[in-house]
């Protein structure tokens, strides 16, 4: 958490993370270039650059897209999610080099503007096999640019978490465009079953992990809760681990019921920072701590401890014996609610 905006709030984990990204990217480019120059030496430098960075970008995008569901399925992977932005910006740089070289090589130094040329040099929009695949790549690159250039808490704070999240969810649209860009472009000419196979496996891995995660979360959302005089039956106290929470869906909103220090409190599950699942967090120093980036909220009022100003909605709980009940009506964000003592 931070009050001021800095370009990067460095810590040793971020430095290690970035070193791994840079070394892996260099490893890929060097290996690709060396093998091509040794075994297919008649290549041109432009083609080498376009292919090396293009393939690197799509491989990185596949890795980026599996981090989210992996972290949802196993909390051990959460630290990878924490610094995913750096991986995203690095992937954009690789995609930008690919796109920049391609636009220059195929569309620049001609009789029309290169951007106009992307859209008009091939007009077979009604054909699948002849479709102007560069258009798909160009739109995907614009989306990745919008994402990379707003990939900072300054924009998150100023665009609002909702707008920012929507913008960044467009990565799935960009991914679909890039897959189509490859299959309608490079794979029409470079038809090795190995490369096509790797990309197909990558797509199915990304899709399957998202579906498994969605299925698991849908189970929570579709769980029927018994109602008693306006209160919904949640679970027994023993079903929640100490300093942890259970997530329930109340009136289409996910709510996290936390157990800590002989008390129970319920808050809206969605972190104000990037929409992280607070119910998968932990109480640390008396605060609910988001598993994604460590944003904190007081369980009794859903407010970030001063001087921070984030607030989430709170809910009222009651106990009948060992059974926890929740009032489905949310209080305004940051409303103080007396915790249930047990």
């Amino acid at each position: 958490m931070g009050l001021d905006y800095q370009l990067v709030l460095w810590n040793k984990y971020k430095k290690a993370y970035d070193k791994i990204i840079i070394i892996s990217m260099l490893l890929y480019i060097i290996l690709f270039a060396a093998i091509t120059l040794i075994f297919n030496s008649e290549t041109t430098i432009e083609t080498l650059v376009i292919r090396a960075f293009g393939s690197l970008a799509i491989i990185m995008l596949n890795i980026i897209l599996i981090i989210g569901p992996l972290a949802r399925l196993n909390s051990n992977f959460l630290p990878i999610l924490y610094n995913r932005r750096h991986l995203g910006v690095s992937m954009f740089i690789a995609a930008f080099i690919h796109g920049g070289f391609s636009i220059f090589q195929f569309h620049a130094l001609g009789d029309v503007n290169p951007i106009y040329s992307i859209f008009t040099s091939n007009m077979d929009y009604n054909s699948l096999t002849n479709f102007p695949f560069q258009v798909l790549g160009f739109i995907a690159l614009l989306i990745l640019f919008a994402m990379a250039s707003t990939s900072h808490d300054f924009f998150l704070g100023n665009l609002s978490a909702k707008v920012w999240k929507r913008l960044h969810m467009m990565v799935y649209f960009a991914y679909a465009l890039i897959i189509a860009h490859m299959f309608l472009g490079a794979f029409q000419q470079e038809t090795s079953p190995l490369t096509i196979g790797i990309m197909t496996i990558g797509f199915f891995t990304v899709a399957s992990l998202h579906l498994i995660t969605a299925f698991k979360e849908q189970k929570i959302d579709s769980m029927k809760m018994e109602e008693q005089e306006g209160w919904l039956k949640v679970c027994t106290i023993s079903e929640i681990e100490e300093d942890r929470a259970k997530i329930f869906t109340v009136k289409n909103q996910r709510v996290a019921v936390f157990k800590y220090n002989g008390k129970l409190s319920a808050i809206h599950n969605v972190c104000k920072h990037q929409g992280g699942p607070l119910g998968e967090g932990k109480i640390i120093d008396g605060c609910i701590t988001c598993p994604w980036h460590g944003y904190q909220y007081l369980p009794s009022n859903g407010q970030s401890p001063p001087p921070f100003t984030e607030k989430v909605a709170t809910y009222q709980l009651k106990l009948e014996g060992d059974m926890i009940y929740i009032n489905p009506e949310a209080f305004d964000e940051g409303t103080e609610v007396e915790p249930c003592n047990y």
């Binding site: 890929y28 270039a33 093998i35 292919r51 399925l73 051990n76």
Partner: protein, 263 residues
């Protein structure tokens, strides 16, 4: 969700537990393994590039007879009674014409005149082209008319191949054909670079035809929709020393759905 007791908080030193570290190590090793495997697969599985050459960093001076038939060429004497017609091209995706204008102000008809041109050679499979980047590098060597190459009509034929832009195909880009390169070829031919039909017979012998309209004039804009697609084209073949010309009408271009076999 699979949880463990460890809970990593970015700003709390030492919050990265042993189990989490092990998972991260496994993830990083898997990712690096993936990077190595994919680098091997993607680089090894590329189609072999051809030995087409573009001498970008060196310039060659050639002297020969200029003619537009209909595209600007320089007829160079290479051996007794043997001539090579070198196709003249401009910088980028343009024809050589703008680089000849300065000289044409002095001598409007350059056909048959001896010119010396310095530029970047492009060559592959017996064909040579030269890129001119500066009109100062085009000079008149002899102002007397020299014999122009003769054209002989061979026959009307239907040929299968792909319309390519010769600048990229013969050396500037790899691959300079097919769908990946189509947009670039469209720009080149739209910019005045002569269109060429590249064909390949069953014995893998390539033949190249400079395309013209039925009157033997340059044809560029009308054939843009057919570039970079395997096609069947009917036209009249003419031979002009080391080049064939194919007189066509765009209505006689039939795009095929099969895979192009040129190169």
């Amino acid at each position: 969700m699979k949880k463990n007791d460890e809970f990593y908080v970015p700003y709390i030193e030492g919050s990265l537990g042993v189990k989490t570290k092990q998972s991260l190590k496994r993830f990083v090793l898997s990712a690096v393994g993936l990077i190595i495997i994919t680098a091997l697969v993607f680089s090894f599985s590329q189609n072999q590039f051809k030995n087409a050459t573009f001498e970008l960093l060196s310039e060659t001076k050639i002297t020969g007879t200029f003619h537009e038939s209909p595209y600007p060429m320089l007829r160079v004497h290479v051996a007794k009674d043997t001539y090579k017609n070198i196709l003249l091209l401009g910088f980028g995706k343009f024809s050589a014409n703008p680089y000849l204008e300065k000289l044409q102000h002095e001598i409007p008809d350059l056909n048959g005149k001896t010119l010396t041109i310095e530029g970047n050679l492009i060559y592959y499979n017996g064909k040579t082209l030269i890129q001119i980047t500066n009109d100062e590098k085009v000079s008149l060597t002899k102002n007397t008319n020299t014999k122009l190459p003769e054209k002989t009509t061979i026959s009307e034929m239907t040929l299968q191949g792909e319309i390519i832009d010769p600048k990229c195909y013969f050396g500037v880009m790899k691959p300079g054909k097919g769908k990946i390169h189509r947009s670039c070829a469209v720009r080149c031919i739209s910019g005045g670079i002569p269109p060429v039909l590249a064909t390949n017979d069953d014995n893998n012998i390539a033949t190249y035809y400079l395309l013209t309209d039925l009157n033997g004039n340059a044809i560029n804009q009308d054939i843009l929709p057919f570039i970079g697609k395997p096609s069947e084209i009917t036209g009249t073949i003419e031979k002009m020393e080391d080049w064939y010309l194919l007189k066509i009408s765009p209505e006689h271009i039939n795009v095929k759905s099969e895979v192009s076999n040129i190169y």
